[in-house]
Assembly symmetry: C2
Amino acid sequence: MSKKISESAVRRLSLYLRTLEELDRAGHATVSSGQLAARSATTAAQVRKDLSLFGSFGKRGLGYTVEELARALRDILGLTQPWRVVLIGAGRIGSALLEYRGLAHRGFQIVAVLENDSSKIGREWGDSIIRDVAELEQVVRDRDVQIAILAVPVAAVQDVMDQASRAGVRGILNFAPVRLKVPEGVTVKDVNLVMELESLTFALSQGL
Amino acid sequence: MSKKISESAVRRLSLYLRTLEELDRAGHATVSSGQLAARSATTAAQVRKDLSLFGSFGKRGLGYTVEELARALRDILGLTQPWRVVLIGAGRIGSALLEYRGLAHRGFQIVAVLENDSSKIGREWGDSIIRDVAELEQVVRDRDVQIAILAVPVAAVQDVMDQASRAGVRGILNFAPVRLKVPEGVTVKDVNLVMELESLTFALSQGL
DNA sequence: CTAGTATTGTGAAGGTTTTCACAAGCTAAA
DNA sequence: TTTAGCTTGTGAAAACCTTCACAATACTAG
C-alpha cells in the first residue's frame, strides 16, 4: 500500500472497532459516522476521513452496517489472521498480560513464556510452562512467532530484543522505559506508564 | 498559561528528562540539542523547538547543563511536588503498578489501594492494606488524593471514575479498554494494550 | 584582540492532520 | 414519481506540527 497512514489514524481505527463490537453486542445493525464519533470521542468528519483512507464502507443516507464495517476494520488492522506471540518476562506485568482475556479474544496467541530467573523456569503459569529465555531463538523459529512482548528489566531489554529480531520476530511490544535500537524491518511499540503519568501531571499543573 | 502545548511535545519532554537523568548518572555535565536528540530518537531542531515553548535553557555555543535542564523539565512537567495517588483494583495490573519502583522514584505516592472483592479486602499487599472501594470518597478527601489509577474491569470503571471525580480527583490513569465520560476539569489518560498491539499488527500487515 | 568553531533560539517554510462544507446517493412516504 | 430527510465521501480550507536555515552568542587558541 502506498499512502502513509498516521499513527493516530490507526489508533482511532482500533477504537472504532471496539466501539463497533460493543454496538454489535447491544444489537445495533447499523451506525452513522456521527454515532460512531460520539462513542469514540472524535468527530463525524474524522471518522469518515479515517475510513476513506482505505475505501468506501457506508451507504449514503444510511450509514454503515456494523458487522460489515467491523469486518473491514479487522481486515485493515491485520486481525483476520491469528498472531503468534512470545511473552518474555514472567514478572508482574507478564502475569497481568497472560491473564488478560482480551488478547486471546483478538487473536493474539501466547505460544510461550520465557524467563531469565532460573527459580521460575519450569513452573506452571496459567496454561503455560515457563521456559528458559535461552530458548528464545529456537521457540521463535519452531513456532513461527511474529511478535514478542518484552516485560523485562531495562538492563536486559536491548539484548533480548536483539535475539528476538535475529530469530525473525517482526514486531515488539516493549514495556521497559528505554528506547530500543531496532534493525530494519522490525517495528516497536512502547508502553510507558511513567510517561503517561507525567503527561497527566503536566496537564494538572497547567490547570493550576 | 496561554499557549497550547501538544500531547506529543509533552511526551518528548518526558523522554528528554529520562535521557538527561541517564546522562547525569553517566557523569555528563552538559549536553547539546543534537546529543539529546540522538538519544531520544528525534532531531536537534525538534528538541530546541520543544524547549523554546517554555523558555530558554541553554547557552549558545555550549549547549545545556544536564542538571539544570533536568530541573527545568521537572518543573515544567509538574514533578517538583509529590503526587498522591490512589490505586483502585488489586488485580494483576494493580499488582504490577504497586511493585514498580519507577513510580515512587518520580514522586508518585500510592497512598491507598482499594478493591471491590471482599475476599481481598484487609489483606496486606506490598506496604499497603487493601481497603474497600466504598471508602474511595473518604480516602480521597482525607488524604487529599489528586490522581486515581483505575485498574478495574470495564463494567465497573465508569462508576468508579464518577465517584473518584466527585470526591475531587483531578487526574485519571485508566487501564480499562473503554472511553470514559469525564466532567470538566478532570483529565484522563488511557493505557490500552490491545490498541498498541493492533497498531503493531497494522504495521506488520502493511509490510507484507 | 581576532579568527575559528560550536551551538542555541527562532522566524519562516514545508508538511501533515483535522475540520469544513457540500454534491451525490439512498430511503420512505405521499 | 416527486419530495423531504438523512448520511456518506471528499476536495478545499484551516489548524497544527516539524524541519530548515541563519543571526546571535559563547568559548578557545593564537
